[in-house]
């Protein structure tokens, strides 16, 4: 059972206090987008076996969303960070590189 730190309130909490929200950093495509773009946005998930950027909501706590970088095969957590960002922060990417060589 996962333990994740909510960057909004600073608590490390167990999964039962959180609600998972799927892949992070999706770019929304609305009217005017191509079929390909729209399909990719709604359905074609990375579903990586490995490092995954994903959304979580501290549902039973502060109610805020945050993002996590987590390995889906080892469950290692490289870090959690603000949901108000379009890409993973540099320190987390550095840690991932250090840990996985990628």
């Amino acid at each position: 059972m996962l333990l994740l730190k909510c960057p909004n309130c600073g608590l490390s909490v167990e999964e039962t206090e959180l609600a998972p929200g799927g892949e992070a950093h999706l770019k929304r495509f609305g009217p005017g987008s191509s079929d390909d773009e729209f399909e990719a946005y709604l359905f074609n998930r990375e579903n990586t076996k490995g490092v995954h950027f994903e959304r979580w909501r501290h549902a039973y706590g502060c109610g805020k969303w945050f993002l996590a970088a987590r390995d889906t095969a080892t469950l290692e957590v490289f870090g959690t960070y603000s949901a108000q960002t379009t890409e993973p922060p540099a320190d987390i990417l550095a840690r991932i590189r250090e840990r996985t060589g990628k």
Partner: protein, 165 residues
């Protein structure tokens, strides 16, 4: 065996505040005397308690009768600022828990490390199957949940009491 008492408090005044915390903090301090609490903490003054709920949300507890007046006061002081003040005194049920072993009773239903909880910390968490918040108050504990599940919360707490209590 156990001297834990669980009681439902009568309606408590509650004002929900959303917005930039420092602007909220200033007006609340002016109106109630409560300082802006640190992350996850609460402060008290003159029978008011100001609880940190999230990075843009505070909860002020007060006398139920006074709630609407305080809310209007806060609202007018915040006019022009992007902030929301809502009187939500009816939305929640507050319990008072007192006695020895309250923490271990609560540990039946909450994934909370009580030993690591700061004296003025407000813990929003999961109580069995519902959201709840707890904080220390007057030598005991305050527990807050939504009004509609007050009976459930009551039943849960009573079921968790040590035998004989």
């Amino acid at each position: 065996m156990s001297d834990i008492s669980i009681s439902r408090l009568p309606i408590t005044g509650m004002i929900g505040l959303r917005g930039d915390l420092s602007s909220l903090g200033k007006v609340v301090k002016a109106v109630t005397g409560c300082a802006l609490p640190d992350q996850r903490m609460c402060t008290s003054a003159d029978g008011h308690t100001l609880l940190w709920m999230s990075r843009d949300e505070l909860l002020l507890t007060c006398n139920a009768e006074a709630a609407e007046a305080i809310a209007s006061d806060l609202r007018s002081r915040l006019s022009g600022v992007f902030a929301t003040v809502a009187n939500i005194s009816s939305a929640r049920q507050v319990f008072e828990l007192k006695g020895q072993g309250v923490e271990s009773l609560l540990a039946n239903v909450m994934p909370v490390d009580f030993a690591r909880l700061d004296a003025s910390e407000v813990r929003r968490t999961r109580m069995a199957q519902v959201p709840a918040a707890i904080w220390r108050h007057d030598g005991g504990w305050r527990l807050m949940c939504f009004r509609s599940v007050a009976d459930y919360a009551d039943g849960l707490l009573r079921a968790a009491r040590p035998v004989g209590a």
